[in-house]
């Protein structure tokens, strides 16, 4: 029998053994994690819609999920969720592209000031072009808008400087930018605020090299302020809901995900402290026979998310603690004080508030 390199390869290198002949839930493309997460590592997240699932599961599985921008303790949780608090580590909403990420960091540190940085609705309410859905009906005044953004940027800076691990999920290559200064919007102007103007806005479909360059710049930016941080990058498996390129959305989806995947591969290969986590492969691999997508063929099912997070914990969370009672991790002094106040309010409601007493 002739010898060749494939004779000695491990099982996971062979499709039949590693994929085709395995139960769906046993497919594990991770193999080994590049680094492990310690019990107290502060894990921050950002990214596209799929990143919300990751954030939710991190919170629910005993990780030290780091939320630098929490809602005030007076605010009930369902309202905090509705207003975008705790969905990610700061209230930046979905960050779909690498360009958005680096610009968000630059804006938070005052090194980029987009010309078009506020959209006014016809009713006078104000929308943040860079997080247009964070405030369901916009801000009531310019002063409120600016106050909230100051707080938001302070939270982003705190996140950058205090996190131990940053999990970023890349979602899209397609983006809309300002022709004036290149500011990248998460949504096309006019969709959730603002007005589309072809003289001011243009469509850009980032190439793999551009994604890679943006991410390198983002890593460098963060490392300059926090040398201990490690990065986990993932690619969202969620297909594009629409493409602005004049071609089939399936073709655009394949391009977009491929470019993002290539960028991640290069980043993980070039940096010791950057790991790629194959959530994309777990969800989209043909071994699932599409079972990890809901009926719209876009939304990822809880089964799929569960498989991803099972692998994440298996490989990264060797020192994981049990889920806490309060799934939203609160670790700063201010948040501890907030929890105390929440408890005090709860006590007062139970004991004193007479209308509450009417309902047992």
């Amino acid at each position: 029998m002739s010898q060749h390199p494939y004779r000695t390869l491990p099982e996971h290198c062979f499709w039949t053994e590693a994929v085709a002949n395995r139960k769906r839930s046993d497919v594990d493309p991770v193999l080994t994690a590049k680094f492990a997460l310690a019990r107290d590592d502060r894990i921050a997240t950002a990214g596209s819609c799929f990143a919300q699932h990751i954030a939710r599961h991190l919170r629910g599985h005993g990780f030290n999920y780091f939320v630098a921008e929490t809602a005030h303790p007076l605010v009930p949780k369902h309202l905090a969720d509705k207003f975008g608090y705790g969905v990610f580590s700061a209230r930046y909403g979905n960050i779909y592209t690498s360009r958005q990420l680096i610009q968000m960091l630059q804006r938070a540190y005052g090194s980029f000031f987009p010309v078009e940085d506020c959209w006014q609705r016809k009713d006078g309410r104000l929308i943040d072009p860079f997080r247009p859905q964070i405030q369901p009906d916009g801000f009531v005044s310019k002063a409120e808008y600016e106050s909230d953004r100051r707080q938001h940027f302070a939270a982003v800076r705190r996140m950058v400087e205090e996190m131990d691990v940053f999990v970023f999920t890349l979602g899209l290559t397609e983006t809309w930018i300002s022709r004036g200064d290149g500011a990248a919007y998460p949504l096309c102007p006019g969709v959730a605020g603002g007005e589309f103007d072809p003289a001011r806005h243009e469509f850009v479909n980032l190439r793999a090299a551009e994604v890679s360059a943006d991410m390198r710049e983002a890593f460098s930016f963060i490392r300059a302020r926090n040398s201990r941080v490690r990065f986990i990058v993932t690619v969202s498996p969620v297909p594009l809901i629409a493409t602005a390129d004049d071609r089939h959305v399936l073709v655009s989806t394949t391009y977009s995900k491929s470019a993002l995947r290539v960028a991640c591969e290069e980043l993980a290969a070039d940096y010791q402290d950057v790991a790629y986590f194959p959530a994309y492969e777990v969800i989209t691999g043909s071994y699932t026979r599409g079972q990890y997508f809901a009926s719209d063929l876009r939304s990822v099912t809880e089964d799929g998310v569960g498989h991803v997070m099972h692998l994440f914990m298996k490989h990264y969370a060797r020192d994981r603690r049990e889920p806490p009672d309060d799934t939203a991790s609160r670790s700063s002094e201010g948040d501890a004080a907030g929890s105390r106040q929440s408890q005090i309010i709860k006590n007062i409601v139970e004991v004193m508030c007479d209308e509450e007493a009417l309902r047992r």
């Binding site: 809602a71 005030h72 303790p73 007076l74 605010v75 009930p76 309202l79 509705k82 207003f83 405030q135 369901p136 009906d137 801000f139 009531v140 005044s141 002063a143 409120e144 106050s147 909230d148 707080q151 201010g334 004080a337 907030g338 105390r340 106040q341 005090i344 309010i345 006590n347 007062i348 409601v349 004991v351 004193m352 508030c353 007479d354 209308e355 509450e356 007493a357 009417l358 309902r359 047992r360």
Partner: protein, 256 residues
């Protein structure tokens, strides 16, 4: 004689005292009936069973009997009204403030600024506890419903510190009393929320007595009660005038 009825809880005391004083002085040309939901026989007001609100039977029997025998022209409610205190009587360990649309006064920018919409939604969440009562009351009568807005927050840090309900003691000792203007702002937003809940339930909202407010928007000292939340009989007297006037107008309209 004009029949006036009000269903509520702790804020009813100011109306009850005001009415009692009028009775003693003999200046009375109406009958005032209150349904005090804090009475043992009416507790609990309602319970949730399989997602359905099941209301106190004693209340239903008494209220129906009153309606049948007294024939009021409207039904007033004085429900809720402690929400603003719950949210802002004491300073927060995370000091906060907020902008109010159309108001030029700058909030405390050293505090955390809560977006107004979120503040309103938070107040509304607290205020909404009273809303199940409206369809319940409507199940007894087609008379118009009027919800009375709660009195402004009490002024005077020392008074609040000494007279607040014991459940606030720990928070007051630890954090102190919140600034008067902030407490008044939270009360205003709670009233906005209450007004909206009323509108959605086709309930008229009876605004609190504007003339009873001081420069910060809190209750003038002559109207505060012995505790840190409620108004006294003098305030109740002003509100009773307003309620009686509405009831009289309703009766006169019906009789035309």
């Amino acid at each position: 004689m004009l029949q006036v009825v009000c269903v509520g809880a702790s804020h009813l005391h100011s109306l009850r005292h005001a009415y009692a004083l009028r009775q003693r002085s003999g200046e009375i040309d109406f009958a005032f009936k209150i349904f005090q939901l804090l009475e043992d026989r009416y507790k609990p007001g309602y319970t949730s069973v399989d997602g359905q609100n099941v209301f106190n039977e004693n209340f239903g029997i008494d209220f129906q009997e009153y309606l049948d025998t007294s024939k009021p022209s409207a039904v007033f409610t004085y429900l809720g009204g402690a929400e603003h205190a719950l949210l802002s009587l004491t300073k927060s360990p995370r000091p906060f403030d907020f902008y109010i649309p159309g108001e030029d006064v700058q909030p405390d920018l050293n505090s955390e600024i809560i977006p107004y919409d979120l503040m309103l939604a938070t107040c509304r969440y607290r205020v909404s506890n009273m809303s199940p009562w409206f369809p319940h009351l409507r199940s007894f009568t087609k008379l118009p419903l009027y919800q009375v807005g709660p009195p402004p927050p009490i002024a005077g840090d020392d008074h609040i510190t000494l007279q607040a309900d014991p459940v606030f003691s720990e928070a007051i000792a630890r954090y102190g009393v919140a600034p008067a203007r902030l407490r008044a702002k939270v009360w205003e937003v709670c009233n906005t929320a209450m007004r909206r809940v009323c509108e959605e339930n086709l309930v008229h909202f009876v605004a609190p007595i504007a003339e009873a407010r001081d420069a910060d928007g809190c209750l003038l000292l002559q109207y505060r009660s012995h505790d840190a939340l409620h108004a006294n009989a003098a305030y109740g007297d002003l509100m009773l005038d307003r309620i009686v006037q509405i009831a009289r107008e309703r009766r006169d309209t019906e009789s035309i």
